[in-house]
């Protein structure tokens, strides 16, 4: 808790003091900090005793040999491998940068994946953060597990931390499969029918399940108790529409305290534009 304020928070006085400070020489001992967090996120981090350290990034471009996207059967192993390799390498690089600037972890990581016919590109960008005065649990986590990378925003990171959960790292799983062909006879037979295409369904399930399993395996290897904020991306690959991609990315978490700390939110009723509440389009989304 903060000590009683020594002076009232008069904004105008603060502004004039701020403007006057430009005339004084800047303190030479401070090291330059770069951060892509917004002011709200920075304030939230400060309120739990953490601070941004530096912008960190990682990138990796992995090749996919020719002929991989031609129609085949089952999983497109090389594409899945390339994707996994690219994300892992990019994460590794980001972690190296994070430890170089002595951060405890990276939050707000933007994961940018581009799939091209012959290569898969992954770019990561986030801000390394650290506690200004690390407590025992945080030190222990850093010493045993190293820095974490998470695509949680700084705000989500703070909320989880207040609830007693620590972020362990980025977990992801991807799989590419070929859509199985139907024989000509089957096509004709099913043409006029409204019927489930069971072989296609099974193929889709195979893709999903292997991707989710990989994500779960990566969460377990980080020692996580769970994965939150999983983002799932599935659909045909743009340039090869008979290949289906399924990828899932989330953050592994585990309880840092004995039990979940309940937050007991306050319920508020905003008295904003009443007309908006009654707009019938809200029924239709």
């Amino acid at each position: 808790m903060s000590a009683p304020q020594p002076e009232p928070l008069d904004l105008k006085t603060q502004m004039t003091r701020a403007a006057a400070s430009l005339h004084k020489p800047s303190p030479a001992k401070a090291t330059a900090v770069t951060s892509d967090l917004s002011i709200d996120e920075t304030l939230l981090l400060h309120s739990v005793g953490w601070e941004p350290v530096d912008l960190v990034f990682g990138a990796s471009i992995v090749s996919v040999p020719a002929g991989v996207w031609n129609w085949g059967n089952g999983e497109i192993v090389q594409a899945s491998e390339a994707h996994t390799k690219a994300v892992e390498e990019a994460c590794r690089h980001t972690e190296r940068q994070c430890s170089h600037v002595k951060g405890f972890g990276v939050v707000g990581v933007g994961v940018d994946v581009a799939i091209h016919p012959h290569h898969i590109d992954v770019r990561l960008l986030g801000t390394a953060v650290r506690p200004t005065k690390p407590n025992a649990a945080e030190k222990r986590q850093f010493d045993t597990r190293g820095g974490f990378i998470s695509d949680l925003s700084a705000r989500d990171f703070v909320l989880l931390r207040q609830a007693g959960w620590a972020a362990l790292g980025l977990t992801f799983g991807t799989s590419f499969v070929y859509a199985p062909r139907r024989s000509a006879g089957t096509v004709l037979q099913q043409k006029g029918q409204n019927v489930e295409l069971t072989n296609l369904t099974t193929a889709m399930y195979a893709a999903r399940e292997s991707a989710m399993e990989r994500m779960q395996a990566s969460a377990l290897s980080l020692g996580g108790q769970g994965v939150v904020a999983v983002r799932v991306n599935e659909g045909p690959v743009t340039f090869a529409s008979h290949s289906i991609q399924f990828s899932a990315i989330g953050t592994a978490v585990s309880l840092a305290t004995d039990a979940h700390q309940y937050c007991q939110p306050q319920v508020v009723l905003p008295l904003d534009d009443i007309l908006v509440q009654f707009d019938a389009t809200s029924l239709r989304h």
Binding site: D156, L160, V195, S241, P265, P270, L271
Partner: protein
Amino acid sequence: MSEAQTGDEGRESEDRGPQPTDLPKDASRRLKELEAGLFTSDLSVNEFLLIKEAGFHPLGFVMGSSIYHTGLQVRKFTKSEELTKLTEAMYNARELAMTRMEEEADELGADGVVGVRLDVNYYEWGKDAAEFIAMGTAVKAENGQSYRNKLGKPFTSDLSGQDFWTIMQTGHVPQALVMGTCVYHIAHRGLGQALGSMGQNVELPNFTQALYEARELAMTRMQDEANELGASGIVGVRLEEKSHQWGSHTIEFLSLGTAVTKGTGEITLPRPTTVISLDN
């Protein structure tokens, strides 16, 4: 769990492809890992915290899908009518997806599934084939009480984490995601009719009739599902209209909502503080 064992035995003894009510083998493997204690969820952090506040813990991200060939039904150019075969097809496809999702939740021993999303994907390679997907996060009550619905199945709801928390505070419990669907074909107007109303501001009775009827059918079916569950009400009703791949004169009306029943009846929602936000 006995349900899982029966499922496995059934699969091994038959050599046919997966039956509509069986989960593909791959799903079971993953679900076993989840039972070992790792939870996955596609809830945002806000929703995760509110689910915990409501006294539930997420178990795992569950999905159900089905790729359905929604082909053909002969329709008369000048008649407005419900295309019952297509309605059935759309209904079956979604039911398959939802049922598989519920089965996965069942295997995890969940009390319910929250944040259910129903999506349709179209793939270029499958003309008239669409993939129906249902996904959500399975949750279990931490106090050990069972929250399963009247049919003994885990409840499903498309309520977000925030809405789920709020509704639990009002003493109501979700039962199931209920839906009603109706695929309707709108008659094309004859040349005489079209010329007759040119230049006039007039109601088009066939369209009015047709679309009114279609919507009523969809909503009635949804209501019927809720009645079967013995629900006291439906919240968060959404009415969606899609033409899928059939052209503009054939529309599917889908009405979705969450059926709820009064639980303990106690309203624990704290009195809200009124605020007015000064941002855009």
